[in-house]
Amino acid sequence: MKRQDNKPQKIKKVLIANRGVPAVRIIHTCRDRMIPTTAVYSTPDRLALHALMADSAVHIGDAPPSESYLNAEKIIGAALKSEANAIHPGWGFLAENADFARMVIDSGLIWIGPEPEVIAAMGDKIRAKKLAIKANVPTIPGISDVSDVKQIKQWMKEDEVTYPIMIKAAAGGGGKGMVKVESDKQLKTAFSQAKSEAFKAFGDDKLLAEKYIERGRHIEVQVVADQHGNVFHLYERECTLQRRNQKIIEEAPSPTINDDLRNEICFTAVRLMREIGYTTAGTVEFIFDSNTRRFYFLEVNTRLQVEHGVTELITGKDIVGLMLDAAEGREFQFRQEEIRPNRWALECRINAEDPRTFSPSFGTITRLKAPLGPGVRVAMGAYEGADIPPYYDSLFMLIMTAGPARDDAIRVMDRTLSRNLRVEGVKTLAPLLLSIIRHKAFKSGEFSTKFIEDHMDELVSMFREHDSEDEALKIADYVARISALGPQDWM
């Protein structure tokens, strides 16, 4: 696939087709470059952080994503109206929607992302896998275009595949529309669940089935490419720790692999991205089988990723900045050999969720004290007093820490989560995240994608019972109540 037009185009103003953490992140780099920004917002996001931070903000519709952040026409209309000449999709929503990318380009705007054809090809897992095989990238045994359960059974029999297997949305990503199957008995329910979720999340119920790598680890390579044929990797990230197939802790580099494997996996990723004609920032995800020490291609994320910040911390590169460069048609002014990570970085996702049950916890953030101190980077998507609406992703803050070695990054993260972060009004994953980074398995680097479900009870039991500030607030609650209501009957 070829870029149709290599003519440099100057970005004058960027519309960010997103909200929360990604929108704020992109505004930061734009601000660094003195590029004005347009935010878009849905009705409940009228006073959201991203809307307040941007240079202009356009209302694009009501709460349901289909009427706002997924509504391509309104977003493009907002760009034209606010005189933005470029659109950055962030992550989630329309970030991997090839039709949207095409519409942006056809409207005469600069699309800050890969070619629509590349998005389409990689978005279809079946095509992506074929392309990977073509690029000589190892892939997991599986079948595509699954239309019924019988077909899966047939394949398992022919290829001698045993349970567990994974049924996934062909159009998927982000853990949605993925169902693990342990036995024949579950197959039928799992199949229909995956189909329905796939349709709901991506508007496409095409499925594929694959061998499930038990206790696999999730390693991905950050790639950046310009329109001049430079395809570089920015090394790998480890994203093994997941709950319900969604990552919650990421780090770079990976504690799992040695330098030989690192080189192999990074150059495999570059080879694939070059093969498919990728431009801008993207990620190649692999699953790593710790037992056999082999890695398999999983998918390409044709967008900026949540966890890109840890790579920025270890390499010093601004990935959003490189995306702007690539979109403007500039050539990268560095070489692969100059990328020399010299830090270890860790990221925790602060989702508004109950840390015991993972059920979403929306509402008003009544108190938000951002953790500060040496070695900490915080990406905020909300502010004290803001609402977390129930319609969107529960992520509202990222905390990253860095240090010379993994232990140092963990130590800083411990300080950050245990002492400096305060969130009230909504529950967050913070207690669980703290338990995880304090767990000996995490410290030693010995964990798999199943770690959280396997250790949930133990992790919950490590939640701290007493925090003097929390306890003081309980007392203040009481004083407020009695001050308002006077002596109570039960006294």
Partner: protein, 676 residues
């Protein structure tokens, strides 16, 4: 004379019971059990004294050279859980730290422990083993010594001091012979007199000096080596001379409380006791200087408890006939006040004085409650049906029956007989249980048959056959502790601590309420001064400062808003940060959200949006449909993840409690099923 400050206490925790008994036997004069932290509060302040205030006395107690501090048990336990929201375990912990050389004493009601029903043996063992108390004063309202067996065994096995108490009252049947038979039983139970202190528990304050002198003397004659302690309330106004009479007759320990705490129903004032005894030639082993400081310290906070004081003020020599115990006085008057029948109190007290000649036992928990509920019930019933005349009428009949006719039914007219046979028809279940031996044997045997006819009507003969002569220790089946613990774990959603379990065993409903309270308001009961605890902050700028987990905190009131649509906004500065609190007033409109409670009620597994009711295969599910175990009956979406709700068993849908696209919270009721 006053001892030097910080001199070594004669008796302290960790000493063996025999060591303690030896010291007391050889003691010149007497020692004092200070009841300032328990019975003083129970008798005159409805047990509302908070550990926050009581703890201020502990440093003085540490120097006072007390025999013990009675700081635990009785109704203080229950009121702590129910009204003060303080754990009795936490109180012990606080006091141990502040007065490590003082023996902590409890009051325990044999098989009733600190609750209000007889517990089986295994519960008694479990509970008594887990409470860190040095001196265990144990009484029976029936003086049924058999009921003390389990408590005695566990306490003595732990090497703590067991203090069996005989419930004392002054009546024609409570003779020295009667009490000596109780003491015999106690000595048998405890294997002699070397490891116990015997308590005479004069809980109503009715023992005249002469009567007490004679009783102590009789006991000392029979058991010269038995150490006797006299516990007495001040109700009749004769406490000081009675106490001195007991000491002169050989009692080695007496109970007293801070003079500044003394009102009318508690123990006599400690400084007065010391002075009066010394003047009469009996040495009091007490550091008077420290005691004076404690008395003075009380004045700093006692003013906060005026609201809790009994509305019935003044000494009451009539107690010698109605015999309501000091500990029950304020709570009875409180109930009368709340129930709007305070004006009937004189009649109730009169009926009580007649009643306790018909059914003979001791008016102390739970007996005093049975007496109170039964007698106040009778008076209220007559007042309701026939007014003041009716009340006077029944008092007249009862007086005639008891005082003139020697309780001989045949000497009453037919109409009066009929009236009497209706007397207990609406008596409480506990009264009936008492008649059937549920608490043990009555001290003077079972009441006359007419009482049974009156209480049980036509069934009385069958009921009489059910009557037990065994101690509840021998007749009650063991409780399934593991099942009860699981039940509590389900309420809490976590594994309960041993202490929480004990609290739950005693008062299940109130303990759960306290756990909820603590979950919400944390240590508020322990750190807030009493005025703030009860009334909050009053004026803008008022503040409360406290330390918590080693760090300083300050809560300052900025403003309290006006009520608006059932809400009041309170603005406070918590450590200098402004916070707004939205307080729902009792009038706040509440949107009722039904939660799934029973096994056949299906709750939402998470908070989310109900985007499908039914499943793709069969379509929408309706009321009346049959669903199968494991079948998806609804699906919730939250943050783009699907969460199927499955039928837990084969069932018919009885009710669908949500509509499509409703937003539901976790555990909100979705379906009611009927198992097939």
């Amino acid at each position: 004379m006053a001892k030097k400050k910080n001199s070594k206490p004669l008796i302290k925790p960790g000493m063996s019971p025999s060591e303690i008994v030896k010291i007391l036997r050889n003691l010149d004069g007497v020692m004092i059990t200070c009841t300032g932290m328990r019975d003083a509060g129970q008798s005159d302040y409805k047990n509302r004294h908070r550990i926050y205030d009581l703890a201020t006395l502990a440093p003085y107690y540490e120097d006072m050279n007390l025999f013990s501090s009675e700081c635990h048990g009785g109704a203080r336990w229950h009121v702590g859980v129910m009204n003060r929201r303080e754990s009795p375990f936490k109180e012990i912990e606080i006091l141990r730290e502040l007065m490590p050389s003082v023996q902590l004493q409890t009051l325990i009601r044999e098989t009733n422990l600190w609750g209000y029903r007889p517990y089986p043996r295994n519960v008694i063992e479990y509970v008594v083993e887990r409470v860190d108390i040095d001196v265990w004063r144990c009484f029976s309202f029936l003086n049924d010594i058999r009921n003390m067996r389990t408590v005695a065994e566990v306490v003595m096995k732990r090497g703590r001091l067991f203090q069996p108490a005989i419930s004392f009252t002054q009546a024609d049947w409570t003779t020295n012979e009667y009490y000596l038979s109780c003491v015999n039983d106690i000595v048998d139970l405890c294997g002699g007199v070397d490891e116990i202190v015997l308590c005479i528990k004069d809980m109503a304050g009715v023992g005249s000096p002469k009567r007490i002198s004679s009783l102590v003397d009789a006991i000392k004659q029979a058991y010269p080596d038995l150490v006797v302690q006299y516990h007495r309330h001040a109700t009749d106004g004769l406490a000081l001379p009675a106490l001195l009479a007991a000491a002169k007759a050989g009692a080695k320990v007496v109970d007293a409380q801070e003079d500044s705490l003394t009102r009318f129903y508690g123990q006599p004032p400690i400084l007065a006791v010391q002075a009066y005894f010394e003047e009469s030639g009996i040495k009091v082993n007490l550091n008077r200087e420290a005691a004076e400081k404690a008395v003075q310290r009380v004045r700093d906070w006692i003013g906060h408890y005026e609201w809790a004081e009994s509305p019935f003020k003044g000494f009451d020599h009539m107690v010698t006939s109605h015999k309501m115990p000091g500990g029950a006085f304020p709570s009875s008057f409180e109930q009368a006040e709340k129930g709007g029948f305070l004006h009937l109190m004189p009649s109730i007290l009169k009926v009580m004085s007649l009643y306790n000649k018909i059914v003979k036992y001791f008016d102390v928990t739970p007996g005093s409650q049975i007496t109170w509920v039964t007698c106040s019930g009778i008076v209220n019933r007559y007042a309701k049906e026939h007014g003041e005349t009716g009340v006077q009428h029944i008092i007249r009949i009862l007086s005639k029956f008891v005082e003139e006719k020697g309780q001989d039914m045949s000497k009453m007219t037919k109409a009066e007989q009929k009236e009497l046979l209706g007397l207990f028809s609406t008596a409480p279940g506990d009264f009936k249980n008492l008649l059937l031996g549920g608490y043990g044997r009555l001290p003077m045997g079972w009441p006359d048959e007419w009482v049974y006819k009156s209480a049980f009507g036509d069934e009385w003969k069958e009921k009489l056959k059910e009557r037990k002569d065994l101690s509840p220790l021998d007749s009650l089946e063991e409780d399934d502790l593991e099942r009860i613990r699981k039940e509590l774990a389900e309420h809490l959603g976590r594994i309960p601590t041993d202490e929480e379990f004990v609290l739950y065993l005693m008062h299940p409903k109130d303990a759960l309420q306290m756990f909820d309270f603590v979950e919400k308001y944390g240590e508020a009961p322990l750190v807030l001064p009493t005025n703030v605890w009860r009334e909050g902050l009053k004026r803008p700028g008022d503040k409360v400062e406290f330390d918590l987990l080693g760090k300083p905190y300050c809560i300052e009131l900025v403003s309290v808003g006006k009520e608006h649509e059932g809400q009041i906004h309170v603005v406070m500065r918590v450590n200098n940060k402004t916070r707004v609190y939205e307080i729902d007033t009792p009038r706040a409109k509440k949107v009722e959200i039904r939660m799934a409670k029973a096994p056949n009620e299906i709750g939402a597994p998470i908070s989310g949006n109900v985007w499908r009711i039914g499943n793709p295969r069969r379509g929408t599910i309706k009321v009346g449909d049959i669903v199968h175990k494991g079948e998806e009956i609804a699906n919730l979406e939250a943050m783009k993840m699907e969460n199927p709700v499955l039928a837990p068993f084969d069932a018919q849908i009885q009710e669908i409690c949500v509509k499509l696209n409703d937003s539901v919270q976790e555990n909100q009721l979705l379906f009611v099923l009927k198992e097939q």
